[in-house]
Amino acid sequence: MTSLKLTVAALVASAAFAGAAAARDQIQIAGSSTVLPYAKIVAESFGETLPDFKTPVVESGGSSGGLKEFCKGVGPDTIDIANSSRPIKDSEIEACKAAGVTEIQEVKIGYDGIVFATDAGNADLALEPKDLYQALAAEVVVDGKLVANPYRKWSDVNPALPDAEIAAYIPGEKHGTREVFEEKILAHGCKDSGAQDAIKALVADEKEQASKCIAVRKDGLAVDIDGDYTETLARIDANKSGIGVFGLSFYENNADKLKVATVSGVAPSTETIASGEYPVSRPLFFYVKKAHLGVIPGLKDYVEFFTSDDMIGPDGPLAEYGLVAAPDAEREEIRKSFEAGNIM
C-alpha cells in the first residue's frame, strides 16, 4: 500500500515539475570541445562579475553535435548558443531554417593554433607540410608514379628527420581540428610534393582529386585519435618517438612534457599565429539565436561580455589560456557586427 501511495506521489510531483519547466533563466550553450575551455572561463567570469545572472551551462559534444542541437528550433527548451571550431555549413543553416531558426548571429572569438609536438626528450623537430604529407598520405609520388605510401621511417621522407618509425597521432574525423589539418597541411603538402599533379593526371573529377589529396594512410602508422588531447598526450607518453597534433593552449599547459615542432620554419606562438606567419590556425566561433536575445535573461550581456577586450583581448584570460586574439580592428568589427544584429 505504501508503495502505491509513493508512486502516486511521485507521479504528481513529476507533473508539478513539468509546469515549472516553461521558464528558463540560465543560458544554455553546447558545442565544440575546442571552444569549451574558453567558454567555461567566460561563463565562470560572467557569473562572478554579474551576480544578477546565473552562470551559463556549457555542454561539450563537438561542433557538429552542438549545431545540431542549436538547429532543433526556437524556444526555452532549445539551446541559445552553439560553440564551433569551424564556420557553420550551408547544410546546417538550411536545417536551422527548416526548424524555424531563421536568424543566426555569428560571433568570431579569435584563433586557435594547431601544433605538432613530440616527447620533451627528443631533439628539435622542423616539419614541412611536404614532409608530413609524404609521411602520412595514403599515396605518394615515387619516381614520378603514384604509389601506396612506402615510407616506414621519418628519415625515409627527409634525411633531416629522426631515424624512427613513423607514428603520428592525428585528430579523428569527427574533430574540427581534422579539417584544419587536412586543409593546411595535407592539401599543401600534396601540392608541394607533386602528388597533386600526378593525381590530376589520373582522376578527372575535381572533388575526387581533392579527397585523394587529403587521404591519410590506413596501415596503422597514422593513428586517428577520437578522444581528446589528453589521449594524444598519453600516446606520446607511451611512444616517445611519436608526433601528436595538439591545440596551442593544450601544448602550453603541458610544455614541460612536450616539445613543439616548427612548421615551415616558424615556431607556433600567439604572436606568430596572430600575424599569420605560422600556417596552421583556424578561427573559432559561436552562434547565437537572435530570437532568444531579450527572452533568455543575460544572453545579450553574455555575448557582450564575451566579446569585450577584458575577455578576448590580447591581455585577457582567454589569451592567457592559449587563444590567439584577433587583431584590434577585427575585434571591433566583431562587436559592431553583433551590435548591429547582422544575421547569416
Binding site: P37, V57, E69
Partner: protein, 442 residues
C-alpha cells in the same frame, strides 16, 4: 604376523586371491581437481592483481587532491581599492564589483616584500593567487562590510599551477619558459612555505564547489548534489514500480504466452546498452514532455528506466525464493491472496528486494552514457537548488576533468574516482549488511 611362517605356496595363493587393484582413475581425477583449483586460484590472483593496479594507480595519483595549497596572509581591505568614493552605503553594487584580486595581490606583495611599482613582478605575484579570490573576498566583505579598512588574516587559494608545483607535479628541472610557474614564483613559494604561510589544507572545496575552469577552485559539489537527486528519483520511482510489477507478475498474473512475452522483454531490457535509454529520454522527456535540458529530473527518469529491469528481475527472484509452504499455510488459515503476499511473502522477500535495488542504484550511479544525450555532460558552476536546475553527475565530472589540459586536473580526476568508489563501496556494503541482517534460511 612376523611369527607366522608362511610357505611359498600359501604366499602365491594369497597373491592370486588378493583382488587386482582396479584402475578407477583416482590419480587422474585428483590431478584434474588440483588443476581446476589452480586455475581458479590463478583467475582470482589475476583479478586481484588488476584490482590492485587500478586502486594503487588511482590512489597514488589522487590522494593529493584532498589537500589544497592555501596562502594565509594578512589582507588589508583598503577602502582606497574597494570603495574609493565611499558610495557603498547608497550603491550596494560597489561592493559586488570592486577589484578584489588587487586587494589580494597587494597583500601578498607586502608579505613578499615586492615593490608595488614593479609591474612585471606584481603580475607574477598576482599569478600566485587563484582568480577565484574575487568571489572569496567579495563574499567576505558583503557578509561583513565592517572589515573594510581593517586587516584580517585570510587563507587565500593558491593558483592551480603553484598548487601543482608545491605538490611536485610540475617538473621544475625543465627550462623556465616551458612550464607554467616561473623561477621567481617557485622562489616565493618556497619562501612562503618556510614561514608556514603557504601550506596544504584539507580540500573542503572539492566537495562543495561547483565546476570551474580553475582547477584549484573546481569541486564536486554540483556532481554530488546532481547524483543525489538522481538517486532519490530513481529510488522513489523504480522501487515501487518495480516491486509492484514483480508482485503482479509473480503472484497474480495468469501464466500464458503474453506474460511469457513480458518476461522475455524485461530480461532483454536489462541488457540493452544504456545509451539507448539516453536517446529515449531525449525524445520523450526533453523533446516531447518539455522538461529542461541538463536537469537532474530528466537524468533521474532516464536512470529509472534503466534500473527498472534489474529491480524487477531481482525482486522476482526474491519472491520465488520464498517457500510455497508459507503461502499454503497463510491461505490455509483463511488469508486472502493479497494478505498472503503483503503480510507473509513480501516481508520475507524484502532482503533480496533491497539488495537488488541497491545494486541497481549503484549501477545507475556510475552511468554516464545516457546522461550525455540529455545535456548533463556539461560545465555547471551553480549548485542546483532543485532537480529542475542544470546538474551533472559524479562519473560525468570524472570524464570532464579527465579531458582538461591543466596539470592540476589530473589529481582531481583521480580524487573524484576515489570519491565515487567510496560511494559505491558504501552502497554495496549496505546491501551486504541488509542481507545479513534480514536474511532467513529455511
Amino acid at each position: 604376523m612376523s611369527q607366522v611362517t608362511t610357505s611359498p605356496a600359501t604366499a602365491a595363493f594369497k597373491a592370486s586371491v588378493r583382488p587386482e587393484r582396479r584402475d578407477i582413475g583416482l590419480r587422474r581425477r585428483y590431478a584434474s581437481e588440483r588443476r581446476f583449483r589452480l586455475y581458479g586460484l590463478a583467475a582470482i590472483a589475476f583479478g586481484l592483481l588488476f584490482l590492485f593496479l587500478l586502486l594503487s594507480s588511482v590512489v597514488s595519483k589522487g590522494y593529493t587532491a584532498f589537500l589544497q595549497t592555501k596562502i594565509t596572509i594578512p589582507v588589508e581591505f583598503s577602502e582606497q581599492v574597494i570603495d574609493k568614493d565611499g558610495e557603498r552605503a547608497t550603491d550596494p553594487k560597489v561592493l559586488m564589483t570592486a577589484n578584489y584580486p588587487v586587494v589580494a595581490r597587494n597583500a601578498l606583495a607586502k608579505v613578499l616584500g615586492v615593490d608595488p611599482g614593479d609591474r612585471a613582478a606584481m603580475r607574477e605575484v598576482g599569478g600566485m593567487i587563484s582568480d577565484s579570490v574575487r568571489v572569496q573576498l567579495r563574499d567576505l566583505v558583503v557578509a561583513d562590510p565592517s572589515v573594510i579598512g581593517r586587516t584580517v588574516d585570510v587563507a587565500i587559494l593558491a593558483h592551480g599551477n603553484v598548487d601543482s608545483a608545491y605538490k611536485g607535479q610540475i617538473d621544475l628541472g625543465v627550462d623556465e619558459k616551458n612550464r607554467k610557474v616561473s623561477d621567481r614564483q617557485v622562489g616565493w613559494m618556497n619562501q612562503l612555505a618556510e614561514t608556514g604561510a603557504l601550506a596544504g589544507h584539507f580540500n573542503t572545496g572539492l566537495f562543495t564547489n561547483g565546476a570551474s575552469s580553475r582547477p584549484e577552485a573546481a569541486g564536486l559539489g554540483v556532481a554530488l548534489v546532481g547524483s543525489l537527486y538522481m538517486m532519490l528519483i530513481v529510488l522513489v520511482l523504480s522501487l515501487p514500480i518495480g516491486v509492484a510489477a514483480s508482485i503482479y507478475l509473480e503472484e497474480f498474473a495468469p501464466k500464458n504466452r503474453f506474460t511469457d512475452l513480458i518476461e522475455v522483454n524485461i530480461n532483454n531490457l536489462a541488457a540493452v546498452p544504456s545509451i539507448v535509454y539516453g536517446l529515449l529520454g531525449l525524445a520523450v522527456f526533453v523533446n516531447f514532455a518539455g522538461f529542461p535540458r541538463s536537469a537532474a529530473l530528466v537524468g533521474g527518469l532516464v536512470l529509472t528506466l534503466m534500473t527498472l529491469p534489474t529491480i524487477i528481475i531481482a525482486t522476482r527472484a526474491a519472491l520465488k525464493a520464498v517457500p510455497p509452504s508459507i503461502r499454503a499455510a497463510a491461505l490455509g488459515l483463511g488469508a486472502s491472496n493479497m494478505q498472503t503476499v503483503f503480510h507473509h511473502v513480501l516481508p520475507l522477500a524484502m532482503p533480496g528486494i533491497l539488495t537488488g535495488t541497491i545494486i541497481g542504484l549503484a549501477h545507475a550511479l556510475g552511468e554516464t552514457a545516457p546522461l550525455l544525450l540529455i545535456g548533463m555532460v556539461a560545465f555547471v558552476a551553480d549548485v542546483p537548488a532543485t532537480p529542475l536546475d542544470p546538474a551533472t553527475a559524479l562519473p560525468v565530472q570524472i570524464y570532464m576533468w579527465a579531458n582538461e589540459a591543466e596539470r592540476a586536473f589530473v589529481e582531481r580526476t583521480s580524487g573524484a574516482i576515489i570519491v565515487l568508489l567510496i560511494f559505491l563501496i558504501l552502497m554495496n556494503v549496505g546491501a551486504i549488511l541488509l542481507r545479513r541482517r534480514f536474511e532467513r534460511r529455511w
